[in-house]
Amino acid sequence: MKQLVLVLAALASPLACADTHRQVLDQLVLAAGSGASAAQGERLFRMKSDHGEAASCSACHTDDPKAAGRHVRTHKAIEPLAPVANPARFTDTAKVEKWFGRNCKEVLDRACSAQEKADFAAYMISVR
């Protein structure tokens, strides 16, 4: 019986996560108002700004959303951004908003628009 429960839990957890990713994305898309473009999200991820050391997402997250990164100043290890490599990503709206808040300011020196956030999340969730 215990084994059955474990098997069911193992089967259900990726589904539950996918569900949560969808919910988080849905909220961002709702705020954006006109859908989300994964292609635009990828452009934002790969864009280089002229803002010092942290001039792009890849400065800390590497060019590969599936790879672990490293904070450009403190060198602390950073888990992969794409849910396919790190299922905990994009499952908590408050956390997602907090990091958009911090990192958009850090890289772009401004807040990201609701559209940019929806696009970015759509891209990350689409990465296979």
Binding site: R73, H75, K76, A77, R102
Partner: protein, 172 residues
């Protein structure tokens, strides 16, 4: 006869206990442990960008200055919600190197900081330098380490305030 025996026993006891007491003034491996804030947010918030540094690595005045300037935190805006910030500040001050909660390790760290200084970088302190003077630049520069501020790279349980020698694992 019994008196002589008692006296030599007393001498023996002193001969063992006095050096023992003296040796125990040094830092044993199991004592390289700091008390950590009980709030989960400390590791979640501060520890998401860098090691969740033990409060006992700096005096209270340093934490007060750091936490009052999170908007300009070593060149980054690290501001957090005010209620969380205030709660964490209280814990950092309560467990600081010069707090009543300090252990021998923390007292040593504090003793190496001049009273007129309010250091913001742990790695500039005399005790840190003393403890790491055998680490060559080539090791600091390894990709998995990168900076002396990256405690957790080698001190595998730094986020729990643990720095014992036997828990060190230096990345290749």
């Amino acid at each position: 006869m019994a008196e002589v025996k008692a006296r030599s026993l007393a001498v023996l006891a002193l001969a063992v206990l006095l050096p023992g007491a003296w040796i125990s003034q040094g830092l044993a491996d199991h004592e390289a442990v700091f008390p950590m804030p009980k709030e989960k947010q400390y590791v979640d918030e501060c520890g998401s960008c860098h090691t969740a540094y033990a409060p006992g690595l700096l005096p209270a005045r340093s934490w007060l200055r750091l936490m009052a300037g999170l908007e300009r935190h070593f060149g980054e805006d690290a501001s957090i919600e005010a209620t969380v910030r205030d709660r964490l500040t209280r814990s950092l001050v309560e467990l600081a190197a010069d707090s009543p909660a300090s252990n021998l390790l923390m007292q040593r760290i504090n003793a190496a900081i001049p009273a007129g200084d309010t250091p913001e970088r742990i790695t500039r302190g005399g005790f840190f330098k003393y403890m790491h003077d055998e680490v060559p630049a080539a090791i600091w520069n390894r990709p998995g380490i990168g900076s002396p501020a990256n405690c957790g790279a080698c001190h595998t349980k730094a986020n729990s305030g643990r720095y014992p020698e036997r828990e060190i694992l230096i990345p290749k």
